[in-house]
Structures are given as C-alpha cells and as structure tokens.
Amino acid sequence: MGVVLRNLQNVVPLRRAKLRKDVEVLRHIFGVQRFDMGIICVDNRRIQRINHVYRKKNQPTDVLSFPFYEDLRPGKIPCVLQREEYNLGDIFLGVEYVMQQCKETSQDLHEALTVVTAHGICHLLGYRHETEEEWNEMQQKESYILSEFNRLTGSHLEPLTKRSTQDMRP
C-alpha cells in the first residue's frame, strides 16, 4: 500500500505529487516505510467538524491524527505480526487553516504542510504534548526529523512552535 493521499477540499490548490514526495522522505527518516498511512487534506469546515466530534473543540486546526496503534511508547515502531497490521493510521491536514497561517507568516504552504505532517506522524508513533516534558520530547524528535529532511532535500524546515494542537485522543 503505502501512503493513501486524499484531497477532499477545493479551497487550497494542492500539489499532490510534491506532498507525497515529502511524506515519503519523512517516512524513510522515521523508519516507517513498511507502514501504510492515510493523509487526508480537508478544509476548515471539515477539520472543525472532526475536531468537534472527536475532541469537543469546535474550531478548525492544522492537523488531527488518528493512530492505528494506541498507547505506543513514544517513538516505538509497532511490532507487527500480520500484514494487515502494517498500518500507522490517518492524518487529517487542515490545509485551509495552514494556508491562513502561512499568509500571516509568509511561509510556503507545502513546506508548512510537510512540517505539520511530521508532527502528525509523531502523534501516530505515540508522541504527545500534554505536559511540558512530553512537549520537549516530541519537539526534540521533530527537530531531528526535520534536520534530516533538510539535509536530504536542501530545505530549511523548522518544527512547529508551542501551540494549541493537541494529542488526538477521543
């Protein structure tokens, strides 16, 4: 399988091939190339609805992660016994929300989406940021991942700053 990419919105012009290419590099750096993953790009209306349903927060956000394996030790690659379990889960990218943030910060949309996706994959691998300690651990991981990404691709991505994006747990 690999990465199932879906674009369910028409607000933001998306370069699917570029997003997929960047996600493949991230998967390689994380060491999860064998695992399937879903990346679903949605607008503010949809991400707000999902945020409301699953986290009781009636507002749009940049990313929501739905891990296949819950309660993973942060960064632990799942031990898989059957082929159908090579699945990390789904990441919903609030592309409209990210685009709005990019306009404020003059950042490139697709670079921002790559950073946000890295954050989402960290959540799929058990990282959380509900406490200061957890946040520091997650940010360390993100910094490493993105520095490797930059080294391999010549980009200059930086991890997300401390913000309101929460761990995705219903």
Binding site: N10, R16, R20, R49, P170
Partner: protein
C-alpha cells in the same frame, strides 16, 4: 475498453448497479415509487427496454373516442393529468431556470443530454465531455424504521456524471484522454473502523481518474491499439502527477464541484423536457 470518445461518454455514463429499477427521482410532494416499482417487476428492468405485460390482449381496452386516429385510453387521460401535475411540481423545485456558469472561462456546448466544456490555455485545448443520462447514483434503501421521512429530509438529487478530459497540444496529432468519475465514498481506514467515522464524512477524492490513453484528436473512432493506462493498480506517485497535470489545466476539485452543479441542473432540465414531451405524446391532440 472504451470506443470513440463520444461513445466513451455514453458508455461511461453510469449504469444502475441495481438489477431492477433505475435511479428513482422522487416526486417533490408525492413519492412515485409505486409507478417506478412496476418496471422493477420485469426481470431485466426498464433500462433494458423490455416492458412488463401489464394488460393482456384478450381484455378490451377502455378507450376514449377521438378523431386523431391514435389510441387514447382512460389510463392515458389519468397519465396525462398526472404528468401535468408532475411537470408543475418539478418546475417549482427547479433550482436553476438557466444553467449555472462554470468559472475558469469554459465554453459550454450542448447536444441534448451531452455537454462539452471547452477551454484554451496557452495554445492547449482542453475539452470535457459528459452525458447526464444515468448520472444520478442510486439512493440506497433506508432502514424501514427510518424510511418514513418528510419531504424536507429527502436527500438532494445530485448528478455526478462520468466525464472525459481531452488535452490537445498544438502540433501534436494525439490528444491525452482521461476517463474520470466521481467515486463512491470510501469506507474503511483506521478512523472509520475504530470510531465509526462515516458520520457523513466522505473519504474519497472528489473526483478520480480511471483510465488514461492517447487518442486521435477529435471525435473519431477510439483507437483500440493505443495503450490504456488503468489507475486501479497504478503507482500512486504517477497518479498524483496526473491529477496535478489536470489541476494545472483547470480540472481540479473546484471544477469537479461546479461540474456536478451544472450536470444536476442540466439533468433536471432534460427530465422536465422529457416529461413535457411525454405529456404531449400521451395527450389527445
């Protein structure tokens, strides 16, 4: 395998997956499931053209006297009255009296139920062709407990036709042809399975490419010897490049949404016209 592009559009028009009746268009104020379901008694369905024999030849038909020479029965009279009401109601709920415009400078050409959208972009010509026949997906039967809904709760009828995109570059004899469709919603994935995520949340792309092929430019016969790429088992990176290619030529999710609005309006328009022609045909002249 698809034939000529125009025939491809006809063949690509969605056939009802049901073995019986085609997609039902409910009357706005009165369900017409009874009259439609009569056709479903035929094993091959109305879509195939066979007609159930409702009246045997040995029974005399109740006729009305008329000088025009055609058969006119009491049933025809009731039918004509029914159609008059039906046409009135359909016109009342008609959303768009004129067809909605597409953004992006697309020129619309109509030929009955077939529509063409044409656009030029830096010398390239992009043509989208679709047919509104059989373009309304069948609506699944509800659970009997929830079957009794008020008219306001009825799902909106939306036409989602298969469509063919032809991209022709100047000086190149062949066009790159994409057979596209509006996929049924995907079910599954960790979210759906674990959390019943289907709560009205679709997880399919708005539209998808099914096949890609090089074909002679224009409305000529489909070249069977041209390789046709099927996306079912295609490398996903290649698929994304193809989608980006279309998006750069104005065939993106915004286009797809507007296409369904146009198709829905056209289908309704053609349906009303059909009812009017039917009424004229049935009535005593």
């Amino acid at each position: 395998m698809l034939k000529s592009v125009s025939r491809a559009v006809q063949l690509a028009a969605r056939l009802s997956l049901s073995s019986s009746a085609p997609a039902v268009r409910p009357a706005p104020s009165l369900r017409r499931s009874f009259s439609r379901s009569f056709w479903s008694l035929s094993s091959s369905g109305a879509a195939s053209g066979s007609r159930p024999r409702l009246l045997t030849a040995t029974r005399a038909l109740p006729t009305l006297s008329c000088g025009c020479g055609s058969l006119h029965t009491e049933g025809d009279k009731a039918f004509a009255e029914f159609l008059t009401d039906e046409i009135k109601e359909e016109k009342k709920i008609q959303k768009n009296k004129s067809l909605p415009k597409m953004s992006g400078g697309w020129e619309l050409e109509l030929n009955g139920t077939e529509a063409k959208l044409i656009r030029s972009l830096s010398g390239e010509k992009v043509t989208i062709t679709f047919n509104v026949n059989n373009s309304i997906p069948p609506q699944l039967e509800e659970d009997p407990e929830h079957a009794q809904k008020s008219p306001e709760d009825e799902p909106e009828i939306v036409s989602t036709p298969n469509f063919v995109v032809e991209v022709t570059k100047p000086g190149v004899k062949s066009s790159l042809v994409f057979d596209c469709h509006f996929p049924e919603d995907e079910v599954g994935g960790s979210v759906s399975e674990q959390t019943g995520h289907g709560e009205g949340e679709e997880e399919s792309d708005i539209f998808a490419i099914r096949e890609v092929s090089f074909q002679p430019e224009g409305d000529v016969e489909w070249k069977e010897t041209s390789y046709t790429l099927n996306t079912d088992s295609l490398d996903w990176a290649l698929y994304d490049h193809l989608m980006d290619f279309l998006a750069d030529r104005g065939v993106d999710n915004t286009f797809a949404d507007e296409l369904t609005e146009l198709s829905t309006a056209l289908e309704h328009q053609e349906y009303i016209k059909f009812l009017e022609d039917l009424s004229t045909f049935v009535k005593c002249k």
